[in-house]
């Protein structure tokens, strides 16, 4: 079948959306951008195609009366198992890479101990992965780096302590290796992995297997790809396949909410305020200037500084009932400000609440610069998933612009890619 793909190469994550020729979304995929853009584009596209398969499965299972009412469960089971297979595959790659990286004077005479510690760590990682992928478990991140990393820290530190070994040594091997693993092009054989996931799953019975297999057999043809985002110039695409991220964001938001007039996107290193007209055409836009203060990366730094997952910041901030005023949104100095405040005896949740407000205040300024907020308003980007940030945004929008419908789509991080995919359809179909 004909697939139209939009890829949004952002500074921290790369997103892809697959559409059919009727502008229906078939799949979405995301990965972290890191250093190799070709790989990031390939991985996100592959992820979107995996998601497309799931959509096709859903369509196929829709006509199987035996599973009616149970399709959601079956598919989430299938996906969960698929992800687990994928995780274990990457974990193995990581372990091999780590072992290969134990060389040089730093390890002289200690190779054996270090390898043992690594093996111990990875064995625990494999064991605990089953729990991570158990039904109903909420994972901290979508990315291998984050998932493996967090587990590696806790297991590794424990293993090293038991072995009387400095953790820094192992951590360094991990840092070196994860970058190599991430930048390797993705392994193929999607279909094989789905089959293995099926086998691993609790569901058996021929009534499912046949439709799934037929869905697996549908060829996915990449009819037209449009690239956008911060790194678009580095994408290996001809110029006519590249669109400005502003345009893609505007159009993407319009596709999700046709009545939207103002869009705010908070990305890793930029914040954009966009006004769109009733047909999704951008009328006006503003972005932050040469300084990335108050962008998504800011929260990343804060999370690192507090030794927390990015997903945990919002919930902690929600616990605050006395917000601390934070005036600096310089990303790097955020850590210093945080320490300053902690030293003054302020509570973590109160500081965090203040930091979230600071980000939103920056965004409010950019919106103001772009011409204010008109009904309907759509908030997109990674920060749109953060409940504390959303709470502040709602408050400030109401105070400054009154009652405005605020749209936040759980898949809003894909807005730019969605716009790109729409452009791809238009390039061929219209």
């Amino acid at each position: 079948m004909r697939c139209f793909i939009g890829i949004d190469l952002g500074s921290t994550t790369t997103k892809a959306v697959v559409m059919d020729e009727n502008l229906q979304i078939l799949g979405r995929g995301i990965t972290n951008s890191r250093s190799n853009y070709d790989t990031a584009a390939a991985v996100s596209k592959q992820e979107a195609l995996i998601d497309t398969r799931l959509t096709l499965f859903r369509r196929a299972l829709g006509s199987v009366p035996e599973v009616s009412g149970k399709v959601d469960e079956i598919l989430s089971d299938l996906e969960r198992n698929f992800r687990h297979v994928q995780f274990l595959e990457q974990l193995e790659d990581l372990e091999q890479t780590c072992v290969a990286n134990i060389k040089g004077p730093r390890f002289a005479g200690r190779e054996k101990v270090v390898i043992e510690a690594l093996e111990g760590t990875f064995s625990r990682l494999r064991d605990s992965s089953a729990a991570q992928y158990a039904p109903g478990v909420k994972r901290k991140s979508d990315f291998f780096r984050d998932l493996a990393g967090a587990e590696f820290m806790s297991h590794g530190e424990a293993v090293c302590k038991e072995a009387g070994l400095g953790f820094d040594l192992i951590l360094n091997v991990y840092d070196k290796s994860i970058i190599e693993v991430e930048n390797r092009p993705p392994a193929g054989d999607m279909e094989g992995k789905f089959v293995r996931a099926l086998e691993k799953g609790t569901m058996t019975g021929s009534s499912i297997l046949a439709p799934v297999q037929s869905a697996l057999a549908i060829p996915l043809e990449e009819t037209y790809v449009v690239g956008t985002g911060y790194g678009r110039v580095r994408l290996p695409f001809p110029k006519e396949h590249i669109r400005s991220e502003i345009l893609c964001h505007g159009l993407g938001a319009h596709m999700m909410y046709p009545d939207t007039r103002t869009v705010l996107d908070i990305g890793g290193q930029d914040t954009k305020g966009i006004q769109v007209d009733p047909v999704g055409i951008v009328e006006n836009f503003q972005m932050n200037d040469r300084c990335a203060a108050g962008c998504g990366r800011y929260l990343g730094y804060i999370a690192d500084e507090m030794n927390m997952g990015l997903h945990e910041l919002g919930p902690l901030a929600m616990k605050s009932n006395k917000q601390v005023r934070i005036n600096s949104t310089c990303t790097v100095f955020a850590g210093a400000e945080l320490r300053d405040r902690l030293a003054l005896g302020e509570k973590r949740e109160d500081i965090l609440a203040g930091l979230h407000r600071a980000i939103i205040l920056r965004a409010m300024s950019i919106l103001s610069r772009a011409g204010g907020v008109k009904d309907q308003f759509t908030f997109t980007g990674g920060v749109a998933k953060n409940e504390a940030a959303v709470r502040e945004l709602r408050k400030l929008i109401k105070e400054n612009y009154g009652d405005v419908t605020i749209n936040i789509d759980p898949d809003s991080i894909y807005t730019g890619a969605l716009g790109g995919a729409t452009f791809a359809v238009r390039a061929v179909v219209n």
Partner: protein, 432 residues
């Protein structure tokens, strides 16, 4: 495909020779015994200085030259090392840094110390500090001409009288003393007559931006067109000849339906977007910056930067019949001496009269006189014209503040937006 041979126009060669002659006159002052003044572009009193046989040296132009030669970055660092803040104007720092690096003019010879600092402080606060700083260096006489700002949108008799009085009682006696030449008002009248002639032709050329395709680029090309009249040549016969020549060239391009020449030496005929630009250009990456425009088919049809040294297209001419008063009016009317509402009026008028797609602002970190308030200007011009504006940020001569990727991203987004709006057809504007 082989590269076509770059075309050059006679006016360019002539200007180049004029500039070279002026640098030679400056750097050979020991031999010729001529006096040299340092002064600024906006509100410069070139005709008056000529009356005293004083050669005119312009530190702003020297900083631009250093920027285009890619030397300004080093000079700025030098000035910052000696205690100048990272926050302040890079023209000043390039000038001061250049001094501690031998102060070599583009012709390879050292700049002599000026005999007088002619501080005609028009529309820019920093000028005042700049010459206070240079005064500490050169310890030479400094003549301050305070030009009041047109805060209420117009000049007043009091302002004009104040300037004329300063000219009569401070500037002219000061220049007589420095040069040993007695002031002759008829000489000034003759120079002003020349100025007015050249100004007529300049205005004609700038107004051809209304033609489609535009035979001129009123920003990147514009900085060359204004060269002689804004600097050491206004009032000279050379400048009169230059503008006659320029006019003929523009006329020729109109007849051939040609656009202006790009630095690559080809005519830029395929013009997709017509822009009005506000703010000075970036000099360190001037060609790269320009290329981002013509590569995308964007032509600048009018700009405010070409008005910093005089708002001739709005009717002002130097007037031999009222010489000192007309110098006062000239100073008062320079673009940066206008208040914000007046600047908005002017830019909105350009958008309409030149049938532009919108206003693009190049916001310069160094220049608060231009930059403070530009976002308001953009909002207002968008509101009044219903055409979208765009905002990019660079600096005059500090290479650290030119982020090519950032500028390109915004420009491309802007052009694609205009394109999309055209295709979308009839979509209504941002006007509230």
């Amino acid at each position: 495909m082989s590269k076509p041979e770059a075309i050059k126009e006679p006016s360019m060669e002539m200007q180049k020779a004029m500039i070279a002659r002026n640098y030679d006159a400056i750097t050979s002052k020991q031999e010729t015994g001529r006096k040299v003044s340092s002064t600024f572009v906006p509100g410069n009193l070139n005709e008056l200085l000529m009356c005293f046989d004083i050669v005119n040296n312009l530190p702003e132009i020297n900083a631009i030259q250093a920027g285009m030669r890619k030397a300004s970055g080093g000079y700025i660092m030098e000035a910052e090392k000696s205690g100048h803040s990272e926050d302040v104007c890079t023209y000043v720092k390039a000038d001061i840094g250049q001094m501690s690096k031998g102060n070599i003019a583009p012709n390879g010879k050292p700049y002599p110390n000026p005999d007088v600092l002619m501080l005609s402080y028009t529309g820019c606060y920093t000028f005042m500090k700049w010459f206070e700083l240079l005064r500490e260096e050169y310890k030479c006489p400094t003549l301050m001409l305070h030009v009041p700002y047109e805060g209420d949108g117009h000049s007043t008799k009091n302002m004009r009288d104040y300037i004329v009085k300063q000219l009569k009682e401070v500037v002219i006696p000061g220049l007589e003393q420095v040069s040993g030449v007695k002031f002759d008002i008829d000489r000034l009248r003759q120079y002003l007559r020349n100025s007015a002639k050249a100004e007529d032709n300049l205005v004609w050329c700038l107004e051809q931006g209304k033609v489609k395709p535009s035979p001129i680029d009123a920003y990147f090309g514009g900085v060359y067109y204004i060269g002689p009249i804004f600097t050491a040549f206004r009032g000279t016969e050379d400048a009169v000849t230059y503008y006659e020549m320029l006019r003929k060239e523009v006329q020729g391009r109109i007849e051939n339906h040609q656009g202006p020449l790009t630095p690559e030496g080809t005519y830029f005929n395929d013009q997709k977007y017509r822009l009005i630009v506000e703010g000075p250009p970036n000099w360190t990456n001037f060609r790269e910056f320009w290329k981002m425009f013509y590569d995308e088919g964007a032509i600048v049809v009018a700009s405010s930067y070409t008005k910093v040294g005089g708002l001739y297209d709005q009717g002002f001419r130097h007037d031999p019949d009222n010489p000192l008063e007309s110098l006062a009016d000239y100073c008062l009317g320079c673009y940066t001496n206008l208040n914000l509402p007046t600047r908005v009026d002017l830019l909105a008028k350009y958008v309409e009269e030149y049938e532009a797609d919108g206003l693009l602002i190049n916001s310069i970190k160094s220049c608060n006189s231009f930059s403070a308030g530009q976002l308001m200007i953009m909002k207002e011009v968008e509101r009044r014209t219903g055409r979208p504006g765009a905002f990019i940020e660079t600096d005059l001569v500090d290479p650290r503040y030119f982020s090519a990727a950032n500028v390109k991203n915004r420009l491309e987004s802007y052009f694609q937006m205009i394109e999309q709006k055209r295709r979308g057809g009839g979509s209504k504007t941002v006007a509230a």
